[in-house]
Amino acid sequence: MLEIRVTEQDGVTLVEVIGRVDSTNAEQLGEALITQIEAGHTQIVLDLAGVDYMSSAGLREIVSALKRAKRSVDGGDVRIAQPSYRVREVLEMAGLDTIIQIYPTQVEAVGSY
């Protein structure tokens, strides 16, 4: 089961995810992100502290959301906070560490906007 919590903090949309992100539930994550972007909440911090496993299905949703956010009129972004080592490894394998801003803490990620 994937738990997704959305909160607004200092004008930034914080999306906290808890659980395993794989092809059985990655779409839930994608939908949660797209819903926010479509509602005009395009400055997003995706907090992955509670995610101990992510397959390429999860990355696919994050990249789709990132593209949508960047294309929006107000030029949004999706930034990642506190990925575990294992999630970081997957992000690095796909080279996402070079195109997504990654922060060690939630405070830094939110403060980056």
Partner: protein, 267 residues
Amino acid sequence: MIVEERRLRIPSLRERITAACDFVGEAARRAGLDERSVQHCELAVDEACSNVIEHGYGDEGAEQAIDIVCRNEGSRFSITVTDDSPAFDPLRRSDPNPIMDLDEREPGGWGIFFIKKVMDEVFYQYADARNSLMMVKFVREVPHGDLRPQSSRASITSPAPSIYAIAPHGRMDADLCPGVDMLISEQLSAGHKQLIVDMTDVEYVSSVGLKTLVSLWQRARAAKGDMVLAAVNPRVREVLEIIGLDMVFSIYPTLETAAASFASRMG
């Protein structure tokens, strides 16, 4: 040699992939793989099954089956994923490029690439009208995360996931350097690009040693990684300073601070 084999058949449904991951994870653990390798095996079977379900059978293949066989052959642990969808060799597909910009990037297409990256060997076979993808992880005597195969002249450790530290022992001269170069080159070709040269046991660096360090640093940077130095003794440091290499290399007092520097520079 005792070969242990465990089999699982799942219907071609995405919601059953987690069961496949659990099955493979348990078999991998029993085969003696360390936790990181276990996670790699779970990722590999997840990606392989996802591919079959999405591209092989299509999303309507619920009545089709995927067979998963785990074999523990002592030094090798293999996972074979077999399906009845049309013949398709995923290994012939060209790899996506991790250094693409966001604009040129398709969101998906990483599954097979991940399998090739995290497993030691991958084979595809089409036989008896079935696709089989065999993914192998070598079972190392020492846990993958701690110590890799050692030579008496240099050793490799992994102080943190995806960070590798090479510690040359003795004088870094024309005699020792080819071995160090080879060890680091192997890491780079395995995609390990966050490298630390642990200089604790290096008492002297010759001009060949300096050349080797610069060349390895350049290659790590070219691969979008980095190579930093740790625990450089004062005498070696003086040599580095004389030719200005202390401005080129990041130098950390200990292995731990060097490893932490990679973590903190993400983002």
